[in-house]
């Protein structure tokens, strides 16, 4: 038997380590590294490598558990929601009940295991398909977390020692998460690849009946797998809470899809029975590096979404063609995924070319590449003059890099801010390089990642609109420690995390102005309702707090009937408003406190035919203009958002070039003229009331 083994040694080394052609991902990673080293600033540094670990840790933990689940032929959609559940468990125990952090973590982990057990038991004992069970618990876990905290409560008084787990370093540069993550990864690897339990998972993933006949306790194994998945989700929640310094019901929203993407990109077959931990880690690295690299190259992060879609398909097609998996009539009915095939050389070539092409799609859209290309082509003459002994040309004045972050890139509100920022950048001519990036949904953890990437990239000024104070302040302080100037705009962080705040209105000012306008429209009596963004939205909750305060203090005859969420969607705002008007016929005014909520509520009032109900709120003139003219929306309270973006860029430039410093009382801001500075607040002015007389003067 030794003879054939020796003959196939060359093949089997590759196959032993990469049984699923995971080396394909190595090529992909090499392409990414090469591409981003050329285009991204400071991409190829040790610090950045470690920062990648920090941003990938939580999804990585989920992906480890998900690999086990998918190998059994199942899927677990509930892990992101379980993070929310575990986070509030941890937060409540530690912050409210006063349980020390270690037992609190233990209980949170037990909660994760319990949730996982529930999934596993429903799947194994009742035979309900995993997709459905976990679709149900995906809603259930998140719903319980939101219901128990009403979506509002944000636990944020954790000890510094706990927060260091998420933000601290060992030996100056190794993130604290790294040892934990490595430990778990090695543990899961041993479990899957070096234990009987692991082999049994593969067996039952290939064929449940076969495994049963072979004496595998299928039910028990399935339950254990989901328990592990839940446990790792809870662990991810602990790391998440430590990194952000807060625990809230919305922790981990959308993480399940990222984890599944990493796992299938890593070559794990969605039909079960096939996959490796190494592959999952490589898939995770590919995704995390893609996002990080694009950021360091100053690109929009949306590009990474498109790229991830392409990569998924390319990788899967690679596996498909490589394994000859097209034999079945329809993809999912072809069950030869458990069989072994060799990949042919030409197929490798096709795959590599496809990946290079997809990488070039990004590169093609990358202005930096274009710039560098033109630099390259311009380089030889310069070298020639140098050789000729001419003095070297003076180095061009260093461009100032200003990075602006909105809370949510997709919000019309922030788009109009960007308009002003672009205007200011254009006015400053070529002296400023301008970066604009942020989460596509209001997501505090994404904000931290973006700022971390900017620190690595080395920008001059960071101007952030803060989704959550506690969550972002650590990373902003880190930026300041590295000599980056920090400004907050739109929404503030804690005072020692930034140099200045460009203040358009305080939450108290907004809440008070909204309540006063509501009282004026209602004639100081009656019932009103609020349509907010989502129940977990941090800013809206702060405004609601001040609206309620003002209501209690000044308007005894006004009653707040209900607060409904709109999930940031105009059509949801409309549906909810229609229903709430019918359920509460005495409501005479609807206050929308998110940009899409006001037009949504107004449309509902129009369609209900009610003439006695008015809408007010906080939104953009462009979204509400027609409703203001129709008289449905009485007024909206806002400031000049274009000016806000404009002023922020000016303040950032002034701060970086030393034109303003602590103690300054005024600054010059282009077309806005002299702007007052009070303490560390750059003041834009008071909230402005847009009504039918003035709304047409504004085009944002």
């Amino acid at each position: 038997m030794t003879e054939p083994t020796r003959l196939s040694t060359h093949q089997s080394t590759l196959r032993r380590w990469f049984p699923n052609h995971e080396w394909v991902l190595l090529i992909l990673l090499a392409v990414e590294v090469a591409l981003f080293s050329a285009t991204g600033r400071n991409f190829l540094t040790v610090t950045n490598a470690f920062e990648l670990v920090r941003s990938g840790c939580e999804v990585g933990l989920l992906a480890l558990g998900m690999t086990l689940v998918i190998i059994t032929g199942g899927i677990d959609l509930s892990v992101g929601s379980m993070m929310g559940m575990a986070a509030i468990t941890l937060g409540w125990l530690n912050n409210v009940a006063g349980v020390p952090i270690v037992p609190a973590i233990a209980v949170a982990l037990a909660m994760g295991a319990l949730g996982g057990w529930m999934n596993g038991a429903l799947i194994a004992r009742l035979g309900v398909p995993p997709l459905i069970v976990t679709l149900g618990t995906y809603s259930l876990f998140r719903g319980l977390a939101e219901g128990l905290t009403k979506g509002i409560i944000n636990y944020s008084s954790f000890s510094d020692a706990f927060k260091a787990l998420g933000n601290g370093y060992w030996l100056g540069c190794v993130p604290r998460q790294l040892p934990l993550f490595l430990l778990v990864a090695v543990g899961v690897w041993l479990l899957l690849h070096r234990s009987v339990f692991g082999r049994q998972l593969y067996a039952l993933g290939c064929s449940k009946e076969g495994a049963l006949h072979a004496g595998v306790p299928v039910g028990r194994r399935v339950v254990t797998t989901y328990v592990l998945s839940g446990l790792l989700a809870a662990l991810a929640a602990v790391v998440y809470a430590a990194r952000l310094g807060q625990a809230k019901a919305d922790a981990g929203t959308g993480f399940e899809l990222m984890a599944i993407t990493a796992v299938v990109l890593g070559g794990t077959s969605i039909d079960g029975g096939k996959g490796t931990i190494l592959g999952t880690m490589l898939g995770l690295a590919a995704i995390v590096m893609l996002e990080n690299g694009l950021r360091l190259a100053g690109q929009q992060a949306e590009a990474s979404q498109v790229m991830i879609g392409v990569l998924l398909l390319v990788a899967i097609l690679g596996h498909r063609f490589g394994t000859g998996g097209r034999a079945g009539a329809v993809a999912s009915t072809s069950r030869d995924s458990c069989e072994e095939f060799e990949m042919k050389n030409y197929q490798v070539a096709i795959l590599s070319v496809a990946m290079l092409l997809s990488a070039l799609i990004v590169a093609g859209s990358n202005k930096k590449v274009a710039e560098q290309m033109s630099l390259l082509s311009a380089a030889p003459p310069v070298a020639a003059t140098q050789r000729a002994g001419a003095p070297p040309p003076p180095p061009p004045a260093k461009k100032l890099t200003i990075a602006l972050m909105p809370k949510n890139k997709g919000e019309p509100y922030f788009l109009s801010c960007k308009k002003g920022a672009d205007e200011a950048v254009a006015a400053l001519g070529g002296q400023v390089e301008f970066l604009w990036d942020g989460p596509a949904n209001p997501d505090p953890s994404k904000q931290n990642e973006v700022i971390d990437a900017w620190i690595t990239r080395g920008v001059d000024v960071i101007a952030a609109s803060v989704e959550n104070k506690e969550a972002i302040s650590t990373v902003l302080k880190k930026a300041r420690a590295k000599g980056i100037k920090v400004i907050c705009w739109d929404a503030d962080a804690v005072a020692d995390a930034r140099d200045f705040m460009v203040q358009q209105a305080t939450p108290e000012g907004i809440g008070t102005a909204l309540m006063d306008e509501a009282a004026r429209v209602m004639g100081n009596k009656g019932t009103f309702a609020i349509v907010t963004a989502s129940l977990t939205a941090a800013n809206q909750n702060e405004w609601i707090e001040y609206i309620k305060k003002r209501l209690a203090a000044k308007y005894p005859d006004i009653k707040l009937a209900t607060i409904e969420p709109s999930e940031g969607k105009r059509d949801v705002a409309m549906t909810r408003t229609s229903a709430l008007l019918k359920a509460n016929p005495d409501v005479k005014l609807v206050m929308g406190i998110a940009a899409p909520a006001v037009p949504g509520a107004a449309e509902a009032v129009v369609q209900s035919g009610r003439k006695d109900v008015k809408v007010i709120g906080l939104s953009l003139p462009s979204l509400c203009r027609e409703f203001i003219h129709k008289g449905v929306v009485d007024c909206i309270v806002l400031w000049n958002t274009v000016d806000l973006g404009y002023l922020t860029v000016h303040a950032a430039r002034a701060l970086a070039q030393g034109d303003i410093k602590a103690g300054s009382t005024t600054m010059e801001a282009g077309r806005l003229g002299k702007i007052e500075i009070a303490g560390d607040q750059v003041l834009l002015g008071k909230p402005f009331v847009f009504n039918k007389d003035n709304v047409d003067q504004f085009d944002f």
Binding site: I308, L313, G325, V330, T333, I563, A579, K582
Partner: protein, 327 residues
């Protein structure tokens, strides 16, 4: 009684109890205006749910439906601004949706990518491209004839509901009585057996994906026509909502079992939760928990057997690995 029927009855029962309870606790729920709102809103969920039922009956899944919906909304707005008449849009937008459906079908059927992964990729990719392209900007300043197709609110709403109802009726008849509809069940139950009796599984699965795309496009257009501007993040999260409606309605995720009566009930049951909570004055924070509980309870009707025991008879899905029949 067949298990699919049992599940339809379970859902009907839960819905009935809920409505009876509401009649006692909050009779205001049954006022005409509220019922009209509920029917209009849920008609828009029903349309993609019809297509999703077809896809799931084939033992496939489509996660990209929300992204397709979003793109179709934005393109509809863009075309309307460019002066395309509404009847033309009524043709073009479903075609655009169908084109995306064909892309999915090509990946799944042509290239053999598992549908879960293929549509995960198109979901992420299409949504990313849309955000990249629009940067989140709304499509404003639509022509006057855009809202309600220029028909006015009452007629526009009626049109919307009629389209959904007509499609539900037509497809119900097709699923039950027409060869093409029955083929969905055959392919979902056992693709190899279906091929042996002369059905072309690839064509059937492609048809299901393309129809889902077209229905998502139609829903996008009808949904956009309720407003005077378009929000590009429309449709986010829609895929799981639609899948939940279909499986709560008793269609088996393993393919081959279920139908549109159940889907209609599933849409109705999940569609009234939010409104019910508003009428009962319950904090909306509990909505997702209740939705999750309903999905799980409905699933108890779907239980087949513990994985620990071998089934008494061969499972309907019939996909015992290693038994791929090759003629």
């Amino acid at each position: 009684m067949k298990s699919a029927d049992r599940r339809v009855l379970t859902v009907a029962g839960v819905l009935g109890v809920l409505l009876l309870g509401l009649a006692v606790a909050a009779p205001g729920f049954f006022q005409l205006g509220n019922l009209r709102d509920l029917i209009v809103d849920n008609s828009l969920v029903l349309l993609p749910a019809l297509g999703m039922t077809a896809v799931i009956l084939c033992h496939e899944i489509d996660l990209s439906v929300g992204s397709i919906f979003g793109v179709c909304c934005v393109v509809a707005g863009g075309l309307a601004q460019a002066g395309f008449p509404m009847p033309a849009l009524l043709l073009l937008i479903p075609l655009l949706g169908a084109a995306f459906g064909a892309l999915n079908a090509g990946l799944v059927v042509g290239l053999g990518v598992p549908s879960m992964i293929a549509t995960l990729a198109t979901m992420v990719g299409i949504r990313g491209a849309l955000q990249w392209f629009t940067q989140g900007a709304w499509v404003n300043d639509l022509p006057a004839g855009f809202q309600w197709f220029g028909l006015g609110q009452a007629a526009g709403q009626a049109l919307l509901v009629l389209v959904a109802a007509a499609l539900w009726l037509a497809l119900s008849w097709m699923f039950g009585q027409v060869a093409a509809g029955r083929a969905l069940y055959a392919v979902g139950a056992d693709a190899d057996a279906a091929r042996l009796v002369g059905i072309r599984p690839k064509a059937v699965v492609s048809g299901a994906f393309v129809s889902l795309g077209a229905l998502a496009g139609l829903a996008a257009l009808l949904s956009s026509a309720r407003f005077t501007s378009i929000q590009p993040s429309a449709g986010t999260g829609m895929e799981l909502q639609v899948i939940a409606c279909v499986v709560v309605g008793g269609t088996s995720i393993l393919g081959g079992r279920g139908g549109l009566t159940g889907t209609l009930l599933g849409v109705a049951l999940l569609g009234v939760i939010a409104t019910t909570l508003i009428f009962l004055h319950v904090n909306p924070a509990w909505e997702k928990a209740i939705q999750g509980a309903i999905i799980l309870v409905a699933m108890l009707g779907a239980r087949s057997h513990s994985v620990d025991r071998l089934p008494a008879e061969r499972p309907v899905a019939g996909r015992v690995p290693g038994k791929v029949v090759r003629p």
